[in-house]
């Protein structure tokens, strides 16, 4: 058993937890972040990557709108490396109510969200694939954000301030004594070791899993209602700006260009278990129909991958429990002292990726107040490591990198222009990582071939690195192929069927991967 002692334990390695651990560390507390899987593997990495301008909320949730507009400007500066400032349009579809755009413009003015109506002709000039039958178009400052880069950036910043980031550490128990949290127990899932962390404070940032964590400390049930959303990644940047429907927020009304793909989302269905999120065929069809409204011919475009995420919404009595879209997306800090008579713990719920820094500021402010200390937040003032230049990324940035090193290094993943050195460097920092852990940082296997060509190469290179043995290398290949398939089969149509046939030809046909020695138990992490 390993023992640690820190001021603050942060539970949850999504954007909220990463933002919180950075803020806590920057205010001079010693801190550890615990995440049961990889950073950004839960909700954060499973949404469309929209950096909100605030436009989406100008009518339905004015407070969120203002916060989004402010945080958008801050993040584009302090985390420039993770953000592409694409800009965005709100467009009125052929059958949408054109009057909503007036409400939208009024709301934007009232909430301080920069917005400007442009002519349909201008919108079509800039985004030629847009439906030419749109009625109105409003320009906003939406952007696209790489959730994994965002979270790792915040985590690396926290580390620079002395924080420890423990991924694949699953919380098993929270000790309390005399009405106060005293320690957090967890298991290092990679080696089975138990770890006990004595602490003065616990910040519960576990998102859809926050209820489960609060229960471990003996708190009254925290009602988290996971709202499932599905996303479909299309093979090309069908648009270069974020395109939103100018309607009251609904399903499938956002198309976001992220790196080399564009992502349409999303649905919102109340579910019971955030660990069990199905991708329903009818929801996929719904996304494709919604895509057709924005981009005629959307169904003929190539879909690459689908996934589902769970929103961490805290129950709000103002709306019916079944309508999760309209529950408060604003953050809610649950004070367990007044609620449960339990000192030393706060739970945070709700919120969104765009406002993750602000949420962290609020919860750490609340903690400082409880501790009777005045330490001010500096997270908006300082760029995270890697973003000091303030230069936002461009879709072409890897192409530029490869132009520089193409004569010195191999390209292991042609789809995403990942070099051999990028892979071996990431592997050296995460020698126990799975290929999916590496994928989240490198985009390995996320392009058109979905691992068809790169996954065998990655296996061979990982084995040659001597971090892993042959059983694990082969097991990681099996795991990667299995996991890619989870997101492939729900959208398997058109050109991706053709690609899958080729991939099967390679793996089953030429390589006969199925007849490698079967593992006694599959590699899972």
């Amino acid at each position: 058993m390993r023992k640690l002692a820190v001021d603050v334990v942060v539970i949850g390695g999504g954007s909220t937890g990463a933002g919180v651990v950075r803020d806590v560390a920057m205010r001079g507390y010693s801190t550890v972040l615990l995440e049961r899987a990889d950073l950004g593997q839960g909700t954060t990495g499973r949404f469309h990557g929209l950096l909100h301008s605030g436009g989406r909320y100008v009518v339905s949730d004015p407070l969120s709108a203002t916060e989004c507009a402010q945080e958008n400007a801050i993040l584009s500066r302090i985390q420039s490396e993770a953000i592409e400032t694409t800009g965005g349009y709100f467009v009125t579809g052929p059958d949408d109510d054109p009057a909503f755009a007036d409400k939208f413009l009024e709301g934007a003015k009232a909430t301080g969200v920069p917005a400007r109506e442009i002519s349909v002709a201008e919108a079509l000039r800039n985004e030629p694939r847009l439906n030419p039958r749109i009625l109105r178009a409003i320009e906003v400052q939406d952007g696209s954000v790489d959730g994994w880069q965002l979270v790792w950036g915040a985590a690396n910043s926290a580390k620079a301030y002395g924080a420890e980031i423990l991924t694949y550490h699953s919380v098993t128990k929270i000790d309390t004594a005399d009405g106060k949290v005293t320690a957090v127990h967890c298991t290092d899932l990679k080696n089975g070791e138990d770890v006990v962390i004595e602490c003065g404070f616990v910040l519960n940032c576990a998102g859809p899993w926050a209820g489960q964590i609060a229960a471990m400390a003996g708190a009254h049930p925290v009602d988290v209602i996971p709202g499932r959303g599905i996303m479909v990644a299309m093979n090309h940047r069908l648009v270069n700006r974020v395109v939103n429907r100018c309607i009251y927020p609904a399903d499938g009304d956002i198309l976001v260009p992220v790196h080399t793909v564009s992502i349409i989302g999303t649905t919102d269905v109340k579910v019971d278990d955030p660990d069990n999120l199905a991708i329903e065929p009818k929801e996929v069809q719904q996304m494709l129909d919604a895509g057709e409204v924005l981009i005629p011919g959307f169904r003929q475009s190539r879909a690459l991958h689908a996934w589902a995420g769970a929103r961490p919404l805290i129950k709000d009595n103002r709306v019916a429990a079944a309508d999760t879209r309209h529950m408060s997306r604003g953050m809610a800090v649950i004070d367990h002292t007044t609620r449960d008579g339990l000192d030393g713990m706060l739970t945070i719920g709700g919120g969104k990726l765009t406002t993750y820094r602000l949420m962290a500021e609020h919860i750490v402010d609340a903690m400082c107040e409880k501790l009777g200390e005045k330490r001010s937040c500096r997270t908006a003032d300082e760029a995270i490591p890697g973003s000091e230049s303030g230069k936002n990324y461009l879709v072409t940035h890897r192409l530029e990198d490869r132009e520089h090193d193409r004569l010195d290094d191999q390209i292991i993943c042609e789809c995403e222009l990942m070099s051999r050195k990028m892979f071996t460097d990431a592997l050296a920092t995460q020698p126990k990582g799975t290929f999916d852990d590496l994928r989240r940082q490198l985009r390995l296997g996320m392009g058109p071939c979905q691992g068809g060509f790169c996954s065998m190469r990655a296996t061979g290179i990982a084995l040659e690195s001597d971090h892993i043995d042959i059983e694990r290398a082969t097991g990681l290949l099996r795991l990667f192929l299995k996991n890619r398939w989870i997101g492939l089969w729900p959208i398997l149509y058109g050109d991706q069927v053709r690609q899958t046939a080729l991939d099967n030809w390679i793996f089953q046909g030429t390589l006969d991967v199925e007849h490698l020695p079967q593992p006694e138990s599959e590699v899972a992490l």
Binding site: M456, R457, A473, H515
Partner: protein, 417 residues
């Protein structure tokens, strides 16, 4: 314009065209590009798993033919596969060895041991045997072959006939082209065509080899020079074998180039570089196939047609976003669509039924409808377009292609006569 039109230039299309031309029939071969041979492993599979590992492919396929009426081998039959194999061997001379009664068990580029029936001579020394000692050699600048992965998986795998082999990885760094670190298999194959490169390569490798070792290399040992591997083996003083890579497949290209050259020499007219987009049918009879040639579409008419277009991998079959599956040229009726979901979510469990979808054929390889009647009297199918099998999992694709191609060709010859 020709008496017979063959559509598709994979193994089945090339064999059908050769066989027809060899019997004096005027043939035009239509193809969008290089056929599927360059995507495969460059050996000839007949039957590798059923689902257990198969040692005698022709014998086992007879059993499948009687037990599984929807399987292509039920229509094709063992005799046609036999004929196809003998025909191909006669065509290609020293490029293929082996016979229909036995499988080789050859290492793959991940170190699995894969059954296959006819192989190129450059692969023979890889046939696994108890107590064999392999040096698996990687090229530092070729990213599609990782010797440690191959060697360590081979060493830990019990051999099909019992026993073990001992394999160890060796890495050498000989550039195929100066200043290039990311060379493709094709670039290396062209380099190995050059005797001077083979000298340099042998000089770099030889000191790393131990006595008694057989040398396994990625399958890039020459494209044009069929003796390159043998020359290298002599220079090294060790037996050498090739291990096929993912596409582009150099051994597949050798087969493709040889069969294409033979077809042209036999008088087949090859129209390459454009897609067949539509077919004209009058009174149930196929009259012509139109290619999207530059400037204006162009129709190729004939008396009989061989559909050798492959499956989903080539675009011969397609599934749209509503889940509807079609044969893209003729809109032919398909088998395998009515037995439940076409795909499922578990990658490592049962085969995905989608990839067994295809047309039905009769014993003469005419395309049939669900009732067993010919869809068009002059339309025949060969190769991957025929449904009913999991070609890649079974390792049966080439045997199906050969058997159906000779059957289709022979039926047409009989018909025209």
């Amino acid at each position: 314009m020709s008496r017979v039109i063959v559509i598709g230039a994979g193994l089945s299309g090339l064999v059908a065209a050769n066989r027809l031309a060899g019997k004096g029939v005027d043939v035009t071969l239509l193809t969008k590009g290089i056929g599927g041979l360059q995507l495969g492993q460059g050996s000839i599979d007949v039957l590798g798993y059923a689902p257990d590992r198969v040692t005698n492919p022709v014998l086992t396929l007879s059993a499948i033919a009687s037990a599984r009426p929807a399987h292509p081998y039920a229509a094709i039959g063992a005799e046609a596969v036999h004929t196809g194999i003998e025909y191909l061997k006669a065509l290609l001379g020293d490029l293929l060895v082996g016979d229909a009664e036995a499988n080789y068990q050859l290492p793959t580029a991940v170190g699995a041991i894969r059954p296959t029936c006819l192989v190129q001579p450059s692969m023979v020394a890889g046939n696994v045997t108890d107590g064999a000692r392999f040096a698996i050699v990687g090229l530092r600048r070729l990213k599609d072959f990782h010797p440690k992965l191959v060697a360590e998986n081979l060493s830990r795998t019990p051999l099909p006939d019992g026993g073990r082999l001992d394999a160890r990885p060796v890495m050498v760094d000989v550039p195929a082209r100066d200043g290039e670190v990311d060379s493709s298999g094709l670039t290396y194959a062209r380099a190995f065509d050059d005797p001077a490169f083979r000298d340099r390569f042998a000089a770099a490798l030889k000191p790393q080899l131990n006595e008694g070792e057989t040398v396994g290399l990625p399958a890039v040992l020459g494209l044009k020079d069929r003796g390159a591997w043998k020359d290298l083996s002599e220079k090294l003083g060790h037996p050498v074998f090739e291990i096929p890579l993912p596409p582009p497949s150099v051994p597949g290209m050798r087969l493709n180039e040889a069969l294409t050259a033979l077809a042209k020499a036999a008088g087949v007219r090859v129209v390459n570089g454009t897609r067949a987009v539509s077919a004209r049918v009058e009174d149930g009879v196929v009259k012509g196939v139109t290619m999207a040639t530059a400037g204006a579409p162009r129709e190729f008419t004939g008396e009989a047609f061989v559909l050798a277009t492959g499956g989903f991998e080539s675009g011969a079959l397609a599934m749209d976003s509503y889940g509807s599956v079609t044969e893209t040229l003729f809109g032919l009726p398909l088998q395998g669509l009515d037995d439940g979901p076409l795909v499922h979510g578990d990658y490592w469990s049962a085969e995905q039924p989608l990839f067994s979808v295809g047309v039905r054929v009769g014993k003469d390889m005419r395309v049939l409808d669900a009732a067993g009647a010919a869809v068009h009297p002059n339309l025949f199918a060969a190769g991957g377009i025929i449904g009913g099998s999991s070609r890649w999992a079974e390792k049966s694709g080439d045997g199906i292609a050969l058997g159906s191609a000779v059957r289709a060709a022979d039926s047409i010859v009989e018909e025209l006569a």
